[in-house]
């Protein structure tokens, strides 16, 4: 496997291919397991169809009472999760090697720069293809096990469609990394664009006559194929569009790479460049963020917080705006259906207003995003320790406890800031679109995310006492995915209450309808505090950078 750059890169991906391929395959299978239990009676089937219609903003509710249709529908938003690996791989493919300095050595070999880049990109695409095959095989196995009506071809086409959309975002990350000095901002910008394109694709399912807007999103072309639904099938043209887009983005990235300085970036056109700030040679430099560990941590977290705030607040504001349009659409679709009334009651768990009922279900995604932000910041903390960036800070007369808590306090501040701005954006959106919502409950729903973000951060800080950065981030991501699935699919699988309580989302509840449950909030905060205390104790005693 070390005979060429292509094979070596593929070798580097071997764990990810197996882990991500099988993991995501299991993600696809999991909703299949619950279909039989959901369609035991005609009434239950009608209710399921109605429920799916309420989530039409998320994915097209087509043949949701079949194994393949339900899995396709349920995975809808999860393209976000599945595309994380390719965007990370794409952003570090060339830029990561440049950051480590290994690209200099690689390019000292008698091999054209073009070949190096092409082999690396080809390895990533191959890895995605193998992952797609694994996901397809597992989807087929799941269908066979639970009585699906699609064959092996359908499963493999499903995997191929996923591989293609992942190749688009992997190539996009590669292209963006040509413009950034480090891989982190490239990955962050691609993740932001991914979410933006997902929302752009949602627009036509919520706002009438807006399909032309959604066509601008690659996700739209991904969703045009539904190979697990034989009656719907695969759209070959849409697959070709994705392939062409991946090739175009990857080709542009390589074209730029062979023309720029190694370790440098492609300059933006003059009119796009920010005015260059001439750093002063004089001391003191007068930077607000240099006064303490907390201030420095705030300085470090400021830019990521800005982008995450933009994404989360915009998404929340969009959901608030979309809810009334969705309600109108659903009323037309399901007028007179007794299931509709039941559905809203199920969603809201009571006699709350329709707006709040629908929005409560949609807002389920917001804490996930805030927790994902916490995961990225834990990754930064752990990475700083692993890369030796804490060594000099700890050599200054600062206690380890103060350093850790200073950093955590900055993360907590950022989490609160994101939530507050999101709340303001929701109020503004509600006012602009005329959606009537209970202000108190809306505040509870948004601010109630904060303890969940702090919980993830505290667990991450605790685990970083033992685990390397990649393992810590992997553990948190797994925990997040597991919690989400317990809460998202668990009730349909009739999981016992004790299992449902294992998920942090259980304690988030339905604040938009019922306000915050003080006991739950305090419970989450208590667990977070315990994790933080244990994490601090561990950090105070551990070997640094080992």
């Amino acid at each position: 496997m070390l005979r060429s750059i292509y094979l070596k890169t593929l070798r580097d991906y071997r764990v990810a291919i197996l882990g991500w391929g099988i993991g995501m395959g299991l993600v696809v299978i999991s909703p299949m397991a619950s279909v039989a239990a959901l369609v035991t009676t005609p009434q239950a089937r009608e209710q399921l169809v109605g429920l799916a219609a309420s989530f039409a903003w998320n994915a097209d509710p087509i043949a949701v009472d079949t194994i393949g249709g339900y899995a396709t529908f349920k995975i809808g938003f999860f393209v976000f999760l599945i595309a994380i690996w390719p965007l990370l791989a794409g952003s570090r493919m060339l830029r990561g090697e440049e950051e480590r300095g290994s690209m200099d050595v690689l390019l000292s070999l008698p091999r054209p720069r073009l070949n190096v880049a092409i082999e690396k990109l080809a390895a990533m695409w191959t890895a995605l293809l193998v992952m797609g095959v694994l996901i397809g095989l597992l989807a087929f196995a799941g269908g066979a096990k639970f009585g699906g009506n699609f064959g092996l071809g359908g499963g493999l086409l499903y995997g191929l469609n996923l591989a293609l959309i992942c190749a688009v975002f992997g190539s996009l990350a590669l292209l963006i990394s040509q413009f950034t000095q480090e891989r982190g901002p490239a990955a962050g910008a691609t993740a932001g664009l991914l979410l933006f394109f997902i929302v752009l694709d949602m627009v036509h399912r919520v706002v009438p006559n807006t399909e032309w807007i959604s066509r601008l999103s690659p996700i739209y072309y991904y969703n045009l194929s539904k190979p697990l639904i034989p009656t719907y099938g695969t759209n070959g043209g849409a697959m070709i569009v994705q392939l062409a887009l991946a090739a175009l983005l990857g080709g542009a990235a390589i074209w730029l790479f062979v023309r720029r300085d190694v370790g440098g970036t492609v300059p933006f056109p003059r009119w796009l460049r920010l005015p260059e700030r001439q750093a002063s040679r004089a001391l003191p430099v007068g930077d607000w963020s240099l006064g303490s560990v907390y201030a420095r941590s705030m300085g470090m977290i400021a830019m990521p917080t800005f982008w995450w705030t933009l994404v989360i607040a915009a998404f929340a504001a969009f959901l608030v705006y979309a809810v009334q349009l969705l309600e109108t659409k659903m009323s037309a679709l399901l007028s007179g259906s007794p299931a509709f009334t039941t559905l809203i009651k199920n969603l809201g768990g009571g006699d709350a207003s329709v707006n709040a009922g629908l929005l409560s279900a949609m807002f389920f995604f917001l804490p996930v995003l805030l927790m994902a932000f916490a995961v990225t910041q834990v990754n930064g903390w752990s990475g700083d320790e692993q890369d030796g960036r804490l060594e000099l800070v700890l050599a200054a007369p600062q206690s380890r406890i103060a350093v850790l808590l200073g950093r955590f306090a900055a993360l907590a501040t950022a989490t609160i800031a994101i939530a507050v701005v999101t709340l303001l954006a929701c109020f503004a959106s509600a006012a602009a679109s005329g959606v009537s919502l209970d202000a108190g409950n809306l505040a509870a729903a948004i601010l109630g995310m904060i303890p969940l973000g702090l919980l993830v951060a505290a667990i991450g800080y605790l685990a970083s006492g033992w685990l390397a950065t990649a393992a810590d981030t992997g553990l948190l991501s797994f925990l997040l995915a597991a919690w989400f699935f317990i809460s998202f699919i668990g009730p349909e699988l009739k999981l016992p209450d004790a299992t449902l309580r294992l998920s942090a989302f259980y304690y988030y509840g339905t604040p938009l309808l019922h306000g915050l449950q003080p006991a739950s909030v305090l419970g989450v905060l208590a667990v977070a505090a315990v994790a933080l205390v244990l994490g601090t104790m561990r950090f105070a005693r551990k070997d640094i950078g080992v």
Binding site: A279, L283, D287, G388, L392
Partner: protein
């Protein structure tokens, strides 16, 4: 003089991998102590234990009588530290980094800081990632010296510095010594240690094999004498003499190269029996002594333990 650093039977391992074992030494206040050893010998492990970045498995390390682990905060107030592989926020400028650490320390004389920047001719407006290796080293050197610490702990301080800046560093160490401050530096650049240090410790495979004054270390030297004769001389003339460790005949017996340890009196007297054309003696550099301690065979190590 009193000991500012006291290390007793300090041991640290990384799981099954060796770190250091039973290392003991003292550094007196006002000394410039050179800690020598090849890569992986345990220099950085020892230094990181002193800085409480690692926790010892056993043994004790004290600075000014304070326990390095339990009282690290008090210790760090009086120590200036330079890590072997400095990693800092790549997006901060040199000026921002220095200001940040000055703020974390508190009480840094800004005028002195500016003097240090001038002495090293550092452009503080560039981002850390844009610096060359040498300039990165300058930034961390300045932060180590900027608060005039009572003790400087420097891990390979001149690595990557150009000769001019190495010279500036030598001056700064000399100034620190003249002011009664203590410097503990690790290095494998022996000429540097020879030049700047008053005492030397040599570490090998995690164990301290020799410690002494620079002059004392040199005294156990194995030096060379090359004698050229007018006529061939038998090798046996020198083989059994006191102080002769090895004999090599050159130029068909017209010359002899002797590896010496100790007095050359017997050799000179024996050589006087023959017509001598020339005699050359080579002073060993610390480099030679150092290499000797790292020869593949274990004999020198045993010998060194005996001497130490």
């Amino acid at each position: 003089m009193t000991a500012i650093i006291e290390v007793e039977n300090l041991t640290k391992s990384y799981g099954s991998k060796r770190g250091i074992a039973d290392v003991s030494f003292q550094v007196e206040e006002g000394e410039v102590f050179g800690f020598l050893g090849p890569n992986g010998a345990g220099k950085t492990t020892t230094i990181r234990l002193l800085m409480a970045l690692l926790r010892a498995d056993s043994g004790a390390a004290r600075i000014t009588g304070l326990d390095c682990w339990k009282q690290s905060l008090e210790i760090k107030r009086i120590v200036g530290y330079l890590p072997g592989e400095p990693a800092l926020d790549p997006n901060l400028t040199g000026g921002q980094i220095l200001e940040y650490f000055a703020n974390l320390r508190g009480g840094v004389d800004r005028t002195y800081l500016k003097q240090l920047i001038q002495r090293f001719d550092l452009d503080t407006s560039r981002k850390f990632r844009q610096y060359s290796t040498g300039n990165k080293r300058k930034v961390v050197l300045i932060q180590a010296f900027m608060h005039r610490p009572r003790l400087l702990i420097l891990d390979e301080p001149t690595s990557g510095l150009d000769p001019l800046n190495q010279q500036e560093f030598d001056h700064m160490v000399k100034e620190a010594r003249d002011e009664g401050r203590t410097v503990f530096l690790s290095s494998h650049v022996l000429s540097e240690v020879e030049k700047t240090c008053t005492k030397v410790g040599i570490i090998r495979n995690g164990s301290l094999v020799r410690i002494g004054d620079v002059a004392e270390v040199k005294a156990i030297k194995r030096y060379e004498i090359t004698i050229t004769f007018a006529n061939p001389v038998p090798a046996e003339t020198f083989k059994a003499l006191d102080g002769v460790a090895d004999v090599e005949m050159l130029d068909h017996g017209h010359a002899v190269r002797l590896a010496m340890q100790g007095s050359a009196d017997a050799v000179i007297k024996a050589a006087a029996n023959y017509p001598v054309v020339s005699l050359t003696s080579y002073e060993p550099s610390l480099e030679d002594i150092f290499l000797r301690y790292y020869e593949a065979d274990p004999a020198p190590a045993k010998e060194a333990q005996g001497v130490a």
